[in-house]
Each structure stands twice: as structure tokens, then as C-alpha cells.
């Protein structure tokens, strides 16, 4: 296994024969334990679904289920607009991250030019910078550029925060691509930019998917940057909208739970589709 990325077929699970549980009693006990853990891990989903199907009074005082809270959702949380905002911010940021990181990763992995390793270290070192350490000066800078009242400021922040690790991932991935395939491109008459676009980029789709899902979940679920850098309520993402409501403490809890479900759904869908790529991304930093 070359490079740092784990290949697609390499999902967790023993390489050869798993340890078989042969004693039926142990097997059932284990299965039962798994169910219990499952209940603990999925508890928030049960809670959200159950609560959202109650009215506020039935939540507080006990009582039957109804769709009252779902009907009230519209007036509490402009969720349609916010879902659109979240999607726009996510896609714009991820677009920038992918553009920057694939180009840089390809250059670091396959082209030699003076100063490359210094630039590489500079970009990768930024992984160590916590967002909270730069958020205050960045906020003031971006306020001075008058970018707090559009998507631009938040998109710039998300892009910059996501780029270092994405660049690391792409560099590792491109290093694992055999030089001969790129040389075949040279022989076939391509220039370096076209080799990047027509050979390297299509070959790196798995790595792109990994970056996409990592960043999507990160940006979709983020509160801090959105809270500070999306000053117009009409541009708020759904997570920021929810966070602002939740901090208010006076809100109708069942409605909040309905909103939470709405906000979580896209991330869950992306998660379920791209699960294996997310696993690759989470363990890519180990390097093998």
C-alpha cells in the first residue's frame, strides 16, 4: 500500500478470516451488547424524532404525538432559505478547497521547482493553527474589507481553514500515482496543465470524494465561523440559525428538534453515501 491513502476496498474488517464466534451463547450476548450500544449512540435521533412529534405542552406535561411542532417550524426557523444558504456556502467553499488543493498537491508531488518544500511546509504547518487563534484578527480584517454581509467572508474562511489538510491529502495521493502514467501523457502529446486536468484529476476522484465529505460535514455543521462571518440573518446557514435559536433558551423545544432534524438530514445523507471516503479521510493522517 503506497502513499498515505487507504484504498477503497480497504474498509475496516479483518484482512482474512475474522475471529469467528463459535459459542452461540457468547454470540447472542455480544449481539445484545451491540444493540444496547446502538441505543446509546442513536439516542439523540430517537429523542429528536419523538420530541418533534409532540406539541410543546405535550412535551412538558406528557401527552400524545402530533404534527403541531412541524407546522410551527416555518414561523420559527426560515429553514428553506437556510438550507439553501448552507448548500451555497458549502459548495462554494469546497469548490475553492478542491481547486487549490488539487493544483498544489499535484505540483508538490510531481513537479520540481525551487522553494517547493518550503511552500509545502508553510501550507501544511497551518494545520496546527486553531481557528480560535486567528478568528479575531481575521474577523476585523474581513470586516474592513466589507465582506461580513455576504457569503464571501465565510466562504473565504472555510476555504482557508480546509485547504491545508486537503493539500496534504492530495499531495500524498498524487505521490502514489505512478510517474509512468503521466509520462504516457507526455508521450501522447499533453502539456503539464493538460496532464493535470485530463489524467491526474480524473484519477484522483476517490481523494476528491474524501475531501468533499470531510469538508461538507465540517462546514455544514460549523457554528463559530458562520456566527461571526455571516452577519445578515438572510445569509445564515441552518446550523447558525439553530445555534442562535438554541442559545436564546426561550424557544419551543419540540420545534427546535424538528429544526435539528431538518438541519441534520443533508449531512446524514452525504455521510451515508460517502461513508467509506470519510473513513479514508479520518485515517489518512496516520500515514502508512
Amino acid at each position: 500500500m503506497s502513499g498515505g491513502l487507504i484504498t477503497l476496498d480497504d474498509l475496516p474488517g479483518p484482512v482474512t478470516e475474522p475471529r469467528k464466534i463459535r459459542r452461540p451463547f457468547v454470540g447472542s450476548a455480544l449481539f445484545f451488547a451491540m444493540i444496547v450500544i446502538g441505543i446509546v449512540m442513536l439516542y439523540p435521533f430517537f429523542f429528536m424524532i419523538d420530541t418533534s412529534l409532540r406539541s410543546e405542552s405535550s412535551f412538558l406535561n406528557g401527552g400524545g404525538h402530533s404534527l403541531a411542532s412541524w407546522r410551527a417550524l416555518d414561523s420559527t426557523l426560515p429553514w428553506r432559505q437556510q438550507l439553501v444558504n448552507s448548500t451555497i456556502v458549502c459548495l462554494l467553499s469546497i469548490g475553492i478547497i478542491l481547486t487549490c488543493s488539487t493544483m498544489a498537491g499535484f505540483a508538490f508531488a510531481k513537479l520540481r521547482y525551487p522553494g517547493a518544500s518550503a511552500v509545502f511546509v508553510a501550507i501544511i504547518a497551518a494545520i496546527l493553527i486553531p481557528v480560535q487563534s486567528i478568528v479575531i484578527p481575521a474577523y476585523v480584517d474581513i470586516a474592513q474589507w466589507h465582506l461580513l454581509t455576504s457569503y464571501t467572508g465565510a466562504v473565504l474562511m472555510y476555504s482557508a481553514i480546509g485547504t491545508p489538510f486537503a493539500t496534504f491529502l492530495m499531495t500524498v495521493y498524487y505521490r502514489s500515482l505512478p510517474d509512468e502514467v503521466l509520462e504516457a501523457g507526455v508521450i501522447d502529446g499533453l502539456s503539464y496543465p493538460t496532464i493535470f486536468l485530463r489524467i491526474a484529476l480524473p484519477m484522483s476522484v476517490p481523494a476528491l470524494a474524501t475531501i468533499f465529505v470531510l469538508q461538507f460535514i465540517q462546514i455544514w455543521d460549523d457554528l463559530l465561523i458562520g456566527l461571526l462571518f455571516l452577519q445578515n440573518p438572510s445569509e445564515r446557514t441552518i446550523t447558525v440559525g439553530l445555534g442562535a435559536l438554541a442559545a436564546g433558551r426561550t424557544t419551543d423545544i419540540p420545534v427546535l428538534m424538528a429544526g435539528s432534524l431538518v438541519s441534520a438530514l443533508p449531512a446524514i445523507v452525504v455521510f451515508l453515501i460517502f461513508q467509506r471516503f470519510l473513513i479514508n479521510g479520518l485515517t489518512a493522517g496516520i500515514g502508512r
Binding site: V181, E183, A184, I187, D188, G189, L190, T194, V205
Partner: protein
């Protein structure tokens, strides 16, 4: 179609180090299949990559036909290359792989389609045109790599160890296919391999390289019969030629205690007449133990190949030698046998320079 000419072409990776290719001069006539052979690090692949334009020449010139291509980009050299790993584009189908270079050249769609189908027909790839490389066997991938070169109808084919990823059996059948394909297309081919059997069986001529320096270029049998120095003698042929220390005496060469007569005129060896005597396993004859004029050898190991066999043994003075033993009755391990030189098959090299005398 064109000839290829290297003129003192050099490649130096790092200043102060031994050049990867050292002033290579080699002329390959139009339509020839020339094999570059040598151990790893001999510079054979580098020389090929210089011809393809993947490595710059740090000195000298390279010509394809009458064109000086030394400073041309690969795409303008009119060459095609088959890589060791095949380097197929994994995201394209076989048909797309085959046609890619043509599409890059903006050749009309119809023409591309025609050429791809022709090449697929020739290489029996037609049923696989819609598949991706991943779904092909090793041999099929190899043929796609060949096809990708063929569709371009280039002046020169560059082959960089194209068979080394195939299993032994497939390698043998594919090498004859490549050689006959080359003859049929009549195209100049430069073929790099580290396998001397491949070199012997495929090449119109074989160029042996060692540590960046061209040792000898010749037709395969000439190379086998008249190696120009100790390196070529030891590299070509399997099992390897026996190379034994000897001494020039008046009527021949003294080796392992006997004098082997040499009738032809020998050049003068260097210091105090020391020479290296070379003899291939089939240049030695087995005889009974202590027959007059034989060298006593203790048999250590016998390799039976069915049609014949090879006897590996040790001489009293410690040298190891290999002798071909025809037929099926071979001496047993541990026994003592006598070994006799066939004088006509003796190669004599200078003891110091290693050059043929």
C-alpha cells in the same frame, strides 16, 4: 519510419557522479529491432527515455531520421512508448486509451475510430474495447499498451521492459508476438530489457550496456560467439560463461593446470601475461576421472533439464565451474569427474582490461 542515431549522448543526474549514460553512440537503421540490454543501473532505460524525450540529454545529440530531436518535446518526436507498468489511463476505456493520443492531436473522429478498430483487430482486443484497464488481465493490458503505440503509426517504438510484469509463460509467447508484429509493421523499435534471453531471441541487433557505457553492439549470435570483453561474456548466456584466471604461454593459454592450445593469433596481454580464460558450459566436455589431459572436478550439484543437464563442480584449486552434460546420464553428486576444454571454444580476455584478445 526512420533510423535512430545517438551521437555521444550523455545523461548526468548529479554533477560529480558517474553519468547514467556516458557518451552513447549508436546507430539503429530503419526498420530494425534493436534491444538495449544490461543489468539494473546500466543506463539502458535512461537511454531509451532520452530518445523518447522524457530525459534531457546533458551532452551529445539524438537524431530520428535526419531530424535532430535532442531538444524537441516528446510529442514532436513522432515516437510511441510502451511502459513497464503499461501506464494505461485507468479512468478511460480501452478504446479511449487507444485513441487518446490521436484525439489530443485533433485527428477527426472517424479516422480515430478506424485506427482504433484496426489496432484492436490486430491485437485481438475488439471484445474488450468498452472495458476499463482494471477489468483486463495482465496480458490484455500489455496488448492495450502495445495498441496505444501502434495507432499512432510512429516512426519509432520505444519499449521499456514491456514484458517484465507478465508471468513466465505469457512472456515467452508475447515476445515472439512483439517481434513478429515489429517485422510486419516494419517499424524501427528500440527495446529495453534486463533479460538476456529476451535480448537474444528478439533483437535484430543487441546493444549491451554496463554502468552507462555501451559495451558492444552486434547480432545476437555474434555477441554470443565473440563477446568483446569479460562483462559481455559473463552477461550473455545462461548458465553464465566460466571465467577463469589463466596465463598466456607460448602455444596457448594455461588454465587450471593444463595448457589449452590456441591456434589463432592472440593479441598481446598486459602485465606478465595474465589473462581471463572464458569458456561456456557447452565448451567443456565431461570425461572419466583421471583421464589424461583432463582437469579433476568434484561434482557438487546437478541441474537436470530433461534434454540435457548442467553439472556444477569445484576444481582442486577452488574454482567453481559449470559443464553442460548432454543426454540424461549425469555424474552423481560427490563423484569425481574429468573435464576437458574444447580449444576452439576458448575465449581469451586481457587479465587487466578485460578486453578480448
Amino acid at each position: 519510419m526512420s533510423s535512430v542515431r545517438f551521437e555521444y549522448a550523455s545523461r548526468i543526474y548529479a554533477a560529480g557522479h558517474r553519468p547514467a549514460v556516458d557518451r552513447l553512440s549508436l546507430e539503429i537503421p530503419d526498420g530494425e529491432l534493436c534491444v538495449l540490454v544490461g543489468p539494473s543501473g546500466s543506463g539502458k532505460s535512461t537511454a531509451l527515455r532520452m530518445l523518447a524525450g522524457l530525459e534531457p540529454a546533458d551532452g551529445g545529440k539524438i537524431f530520428i531520421g535526419d531530424r535532430d530531436v535532442t531538444d524537441l518535446a516528446p510529442k514532436r518526436r513522432d515516437i510511441a512508448m510502451v511502459f513497464q507498468s503499461y501506464a494505461l489511463y485507468p479512468h478511460m476505456t480501452v478504446a479511449q486509451n487507444l485513441g487518446f493520443a490521436l484525439r489530443v492531436k485533433r485527428m477527426p473522429r472517424e479516422e480515430v475510430k478506424r485506427r482504433v478498430e484496426e489496432a484492436a483487430e490486430l491485437l485481438e482486443l475488439t471484445p474488450y474495447l468498452k472495458r476499463r484497464p482494471r477489468a483486463l488481465s495482465g496480458g490484455q493490458r500489455q496488448r492495450v499498451a502495445m495498441g496505444r503505440a501502434i495507432v499512432r503509426e510512429p516512426q519509432v517504438f520505444c519499449m521499456d521492459e514491456p514484458l517484465s510484469n507478465l508471468d513466465a509463460k505469457l512472456r515467452v509467447s508475447t515476445r515472439t508476438q512483439i517481434a513478429s508484429l515489429q517485422r510486419r509493421l516494419g517499424v524501427t523499435m528500440v527495446y529495453v530489457t534486463h533479460d538476456q534471453v529476451e535480448a537474444m531471441t528478439m533483437g535484430d541487433r543487441v546493444a549491451v550496456l554496463h554502468e552507462g557505457v555501451l559495451q558492444q553492439v552486434d547480432r545476437p549470435l555474434d555477441l554470443y560467439d565473440r563477446p568483446c570483453n569479460v562483462f559481455v561474456a559473463g552477461f550473455m548466456g545462461s548458465p553464465a560463461m566460466n571465467l577463469l584466471p589463466g596465463k598466456r604461454v607460448t602455444d596457448g593459454v594455461e588454465v587450471l593446470g593444463t595448457v589449452v592450445p590456441v591456434s589463432r593469433a592472440l593479441g598481446a596481454p598486459g602485465a606478465n601475461g595474465a589473462v581471463t580464460a572464458g569458456v561456456r558450459p557447452e565448451g567443456l566436455q565431461l570425461a572419466g576421472h583421471s583421464e589424461p589431459g583432463t582437469i579433476p572436478v568434484t561434482v557438487e550439484f546437478v541441474e537436470e533439464l530433461g534434454s540435457d543437464g548442467f553439472v556444477y563442480g569445484t576444481v582442486d584449486t577452488g574454482e567453481r565451474i559449470t559443464v553442460r552434460s548432454p543426454g540424461r546420464s549425469h555424474p552423481s553428486v560427490g563423484s569425481q569427474v574429468g573435464v576437458r576444454f574444447e580449444p576452439a571454444q576458448l575465449h581469451v580476455f586481457d587479465g587487466e582490461s578485460g578486453e578480448r584478445l
